[in-house]
Symmetry: C2
Subunit: 445 residues, 2 copies
């Protein structure tokens, strides 16, 4: 008997895999928008780029990496940690939730008035993993829905898509997310027979819009969360860079009921390359055997299965930066905050100089006036899509981000995002001049 | 009109969260087995521990961290990379798939005879994230089932559970996973109306069993994969430590059809603290617009949404180690391999000395005889559960891992795993003597 031929002779040795056999989130073009944006921007290296939100990187020095790590090692030695244990912390498998939670807790108390024990903190591979862990823990059923401010950072929708969690966008106003809109969205989700589980927002200088939620609305958001049974996922990468005297209390610092999970990042307060962030989850979880642990401890089961612990090198470097600065990143980043404030002011001034009020209508141009953050948004009279961005970069030498990529349920087709955080003032002025020429050209065509 | 009171007066300020409102995988006790094992072991710090699979850490020196990073920076300078670009690589956001893929490709070619371009490699936060990314990409429907060798490292089941992917275990034999058992399992899954998508295994010195799949079975596994339409997820943390002359070809190096995804880790070949691994996925993905990219490039959309890029510090440290060793980790780890080989031999000798053949039956004790790896398994005549492990650690001063925690669909109730990788020979001898006293005591009771 002949054996059945199992691979046909004419089958090519290596068959290409059709993209549509992969998970839907991989195939979804919106999941790919950041890559397409960055690839388009890279095609025109001479264009001035407002397209990214990369932090200012003018002050970094390679030699400092070892300085930071050595500083953390000295800190451990000063505390009497035995040499062999320090070596193990750096080289061996370590605790899933990390080893610098104590240092982060001190920083949170100083900088954000957030008073939580180290056990309520999980060190993660950046904001993105903190979000993934929080979502995985809180979302248990296919009927569980995430509410999110819209427009929003693409990472929130992406993390949810990777876990097959549906997201309902709530379009924000000029003062950010409105509490009554959140309550209405929660009721609408419930009316569809689904369960609104958590709400994502950036109360301070939201990406991409730059909005800030006023104090009264923060209090009301917390009440809405309690009324609607929502947990709040508070993301705060830019709050550190508020003008002096304008710092708003975080939702977490106002949270008396334990409804807020706080998502932290060292990408802007230290440096992005470390890929280090953290999750604050001080809620008490009660297990059936009567055990009581923090939610951060409970979620270590998810963290373990996503990536085990976080990089010891990154933890030591960030730990060193925290120790060097006496857990006061707010003071440590004052100069950096001034850099961002100047860049924001230069961007706004340049826009105002080119578009005095009498020209608004002519070009259908409007922009918002954030008081901080890395971004502002410009409304224009034409479709500001990726094709338009490519024309802008190729023919006018300036790139930006289409706002539509940040909207969750559609929108923003005639808006663009300007990220000014990593452009020097002269480049900003020249970039805005180029952008104006592009906008005028689009208006003519 | 009075406003409706939204939070009742007698509600405690911070209500505890019931554990069973969290995702099922967080609540599943098996997901927690590693933590319980490690907490139980830590309760008895004086016990000799065969419970972990941590690599030998006797040779690490804190000062080397900077040496490795500096070596990688020098390598970049030698290649003419501009200083500003090097600084950005270390401090700024970097490419999602990493920046040391070229160095890893050279190592794979040298050490494993795996010949893939840098574009087919994604640098990840360790094996665990490589697995998560691969699973997320390949598993598109709730009917998609993962086949896995059983018993298996808990991380594979955990990663699948986090993504709600069902796992079907295939119990291995003394020579590891048997190809016909894989074919039968694939057909059984299909008979239930589901789709077997991929197969996970460790062909070389599997964790926990120490088995090695023979060459002929490797060829046949590749044929079965082609026949059944399975992708193979090959995990190879221990293959580097084969005895001289006993190295087996990896499935990936034998794969002519593009059916194997290779999951790599630097935890054992360099050090675990870096949390660095990689995914080799050289399959070509065809998108509807005719685009052709490697699967590793396509999966960067998942990696971006799990954690963005990998730690620049970890990449530089591991990159430095690769450069220092001329991409030849096999030679670089020869001394380390000899350490593990000695520890395996000492463990086997001690077992044989205490349990000569005539005592096998009396105590119902059997063990396997791996030729490498970090583990072996011992069958005993009593339930080797966590309670037994606690008695062993408390009363006899020796800890180990219950095998049942590694079985996917139950099994291994009377087996224990001995991990000898991080115990010195004298400690192993004393540990086995204690284990023998424990086994004798259990037999009496």
């Amino acid at each position: 008997m002949n054996p059945t031929p199992t691979v046909q002779e004419d089958t090519p040795a290596r068959t290409a895999l059709p993209q549509n056999t992969l998970h839907a989130a991989i195939v979804d073009p919106q999941m790919d928008s950041m890559r397409l944006l960055s690839e388009t921007a890279m095609k025109f290296p001479d264009a001035l780029s407002f397209s990214s939100g990369a932090p200012y990187d003018g002050t970094h020095d390679i030699a400092n990496l070892s300085v930071h790590i050595d500083r953390y090692v000295k800190h451990l030695r000063d505390q009497g940690v035995p040499e062999q244990r320090i070596t193990r912390m750096l080289f061996q498998y370590g605790p899933v939730n990390g080893f610098i939670q104590g240092e982060v807790a001190k920083m949170l108390q100083h900088d954000e008035d957030i008073d939580v024990p180290a056990e309520a903190i999980m060190i993660t591979h950046g904001f993105q993993e903190a979000t993934l862990v929080a979502l995985r823990g809180l979302f248990a059923s296919p009927d569980d829905v995430l509410l999110s401010v819209s427009p929003a950072y693409v990472g929130i929708r992406g993390a949810a898509r990777m876990l097959d969690i549906p997201v309902k966008g709530i379009v924000e106003g000029p003062n950010g997310l409105e509490p009554e809109a959140v309550a209405a969205a929660a009721r609408a989700v419930r009316a569809e027979g689904k369960r609104p589980v958590a709400l994502y927002l950036v109360p301070d200088f939201s990406n991409p819009s730059g909005t800030v939620v006023p104090l009264e609305a923060r209090q009301r958001l917390l009440d809405v969360a309690a009324e609607e049974g929502l947990k709040i996922l508070e993301d705060n990468p830019y709050g550190l860079f508020a003008r002096d005297g304008e710092k708003m209390p975080t939702l977490k610092s106002l949270d008396t009921r334990g409804d807020v999970l706080y998502l932290g990042s060292f990408a802007k307060s230290a440096f992005p390359g470390a890929r280090l962030g953290y999750l604050v989850a001080d809620q008490i979880v009660e297990s059936e055997d009567g055990g009581r642990r923090t939610l951060a401890q409970e979620l270590s089961k998810a963290k373990a299965m996503f990536s085990v612990g976080s990089s010891s090198l990154s933890q030591a470097a960030i730990g060193g930066i925290l120790v060097e600065n006496d857990y006061d990143l707010r003071s440590a980043t004052r100069e950096l905050a001034a850099v961002y404030q100047e860049r924001l002011a230069v961007t706004l001034d340049a826009l105002a100089a080119h578009f005095p009020p009498e020209r608004y209508a002519e070009h259908q141009v409007r922009w918002n006036v954030p008081r901080g953050g890395f971004f502002l948004t410009v409304e224009v009279g034409f479709a500001a899509d990726l094709a338009a961005m490519e024309r802008s970069a190729r023919d006018f030498g300036v790139s930006w981000a289409p706002m539509s990529m940040f909207y969750i349920d559609g929108g923003g087709d005639r808006e663009l995002r300007l990220g000014f955080s990593n452009l020097a003032p002269d480049a900003i002025r020249e970039g805005i001049a180029r952008l104006v020429r592009f906008i005028e050209s689009e208006a003519r065509s």
